[in-house]
Amino acid sequence: MLALPKKELITFLIFAVVVLTMPIWLTPFGASYPGLLQKFAIYGLLAVGFNILFGLTGYLSFGHAAFLGVGSYAAVWSFKLLSMNAIPAIVFAVILSGLFALVIGYLSLKRSGIYFSILTLAFAQMSYNLAYSVLTPITNGETGLQLTLQDPRVLDLAFSERGAGLPLVELFGVDMAGYGGFYLSAILLIIGFFVAQKITLSPFGLMLKGIKSNQNRMKYTGFNIRPYTLAAFVISGMYAGLAGGLLAVTDPLAGAERMQWTASGELVLMTILGGVGTMFGPVLGAWIMKYLENIFSAFNENVLHNLFSFLPEGVQEVAVRFVALFVGEGWHLTLGLMFVLVVVFLPGGLMEGYRRFVNRFFNGKKPKPRVPDKQTQPAE
């Protein structure tokens, strides 16, 4: 049941090693500190789950941030009501987001193609607005849900006295704000990657690919498409909930902006950037995006002035003004440009670039002319 074919097993082992050694090999890039490492692992997990839906069935959800948000809120409530232990928080995050995905998926999957995407977007925006205003008692509105000194924490306080300051999230005594949080997220990312591999290689995965390839043939071959797509939707919603829960585990607060459509859009971008439907691609996309976001958004005018200090006064001003458009607050402009370049020149994402590179330089073969397929298009 847990076995993988040899080739996939090697892929899995390489992936596991790469993830666990991140603190080492990211040091030269200046990215080896817990806050960013946690993001790499968590957003990687989010992308792996999203790819189960988008990559296998071709259904493009524009509302996955809703599940991310639900996961975060569930986790923070678990800290407030039950315990600062990470395990119940994660379990609640996954279960609750799974239930949410079941309801939203059931309604959205009545349509396919662009109508499905719009429905998911609408539901996610609805969830965002509810979290932002109507459900303030549960979500604490625009301030965001935080821990307080008066939280009941039934389980914790049954065994110990209330401490002086705000408590910390822990797992078996390990503090989850630092490397502990990273290793927990990394292990869950590796498990999530494994499950995604199993799904891809199972008969269930074949049916999902069949749905992406030709829905008509699936129907006339005797398959009931709805439960298949719904199962894929719920599974990927649970991945998103797990990621949301981990965001709260590493930093125990949850805000409505986590559910906004820009967050969903970011997820779509990272998946396409890396390569839809490939195993590594979405994770790679997530890592690159979070890395660049970290670098570019840290630039401000002072940094730029230092960078261009070798230029004469007037030219320096112009250069700083121009480059400032692409960094700091404006880093999304850079992201947009990068996205356009990838989609135009590498429609299969960075993984396709990698394949072309290997084909050209190591196999001595010409890259295969790419059959224009539906990789980046939603299902009809």
Binding site: M1, L201, P203, L206, G210, M218, Y220, G222, I235
Partner: protein, 257 residues
């Protein structure tokens, strides 16, 4: 299973189909006997494909019913009709262009074994030796063993048709509906397909076949129904139909400029 010669597998009972003002099918009454090959011929626009679409649940008839194996299948969903034992080859091949030929044929085998839905995501395709062997067997039957790992989208049109046929055959349907199974094939491939369809017949599979190629029709059919302007104008053995003056008129009338 009844041994009677008159065991009716498919009964199209008094079916009418209207699209707005167009009477696409009028008063269609059709009985297909177990184990027989029933051909439906007729000029373009006679309603042949519409009739097939009504049989597989793609279209709901305006009135009337389709009875398969004693069960009314009008109003049932396409996948339910397939699960009941009806498979269909389409006029434009409906295959999985993004999957390998082997996966294309394995998928329908899963539909037969596991039903319309099964959440076995911890199963492993590499461990499904039985289904794989069966798929390889049927791919061999249609003469495509060399293409096992080819992306189905890259196949020629004729090969796509043969692949689709293998996808239907692996389901061991009680009734196989074929919409112009040899269109776009070379003469050699057409003859191979005829041979293959004959072989299936020996296994007792009932077939309804729509075809333009009279060579195919007269090589295979036990019974022929002639459709013109939505009505059945003649019915009988190939020899009877060939001699029927109404049939000649319908064909000449539609091709005369």
């Amino acid at each position: 299973m009844s041994t009677s010669d008159h065991n009716i597998v498919l009964h199209v009972a008094d079916v009418h189909m209207r699209f707005g003002g167009l009477h696409a099918l009028a008063d269609i009454d059709l009985e297909v006997e177990e184990g027989k090959t029933h051909a439906i011929i007729g000029p373009n626009g006679a309603g042949k494909s519409t009739l097939l679409n009504v049989c597989v649940g793609r279209l709901a008839p305006t009135s009337g019913a389709v009875v398969f194996d004693g069960q009314i299948i009008t109003g049932m969903k396409p996948h339910e009709i397939n699960q009941a034992g009806v498979a269909r080859v389409f006029q434009t091949p409906e295959i999985f262009p993004d999957l390998s030929v082997l996966d294309n044929v394995m998928a329908p085998a899963f539909a037969r074994r596991d039903g319309a839905f099964k959440l076995n995501f911890l199963g492993n395709m590499h461990r499904e030796a039985e289904i794989r062997e069966e798929a390889e067997h049927f791919i061999n039957d249609v003469g495509m063993t060399a293409e096992l790992d080819t992306h189905a989208g890259a196949l020629s049109r004729g090969d796509k048709r043969r692949l689709e046929l293998a996808m239907c055959l692996i389901q061991h349907p009680r009734l196989l509906l074929l919409d112009e199974p040899t269109a776009g094939m070379s003469r050699h491939d057409t003859n191979t397909t005829i041979e293959l369809l004959r072989k299936i017949k020996e296994r007792g599979m009932t077939k309804v076949i729509i075809e333009h190629d009279m060579h195919v029709v007269f090589s295979l059919a036990d019974k022929i129904s002639v459709l013109a302007q939505g009505r059945i104008i003649a019915e009988g053995t190939p020899d009877e139909v060939r001699a029927n003056p109404k049939v000649k008129e319908a064909y000449l009338g539609s091709t005369q400029e």
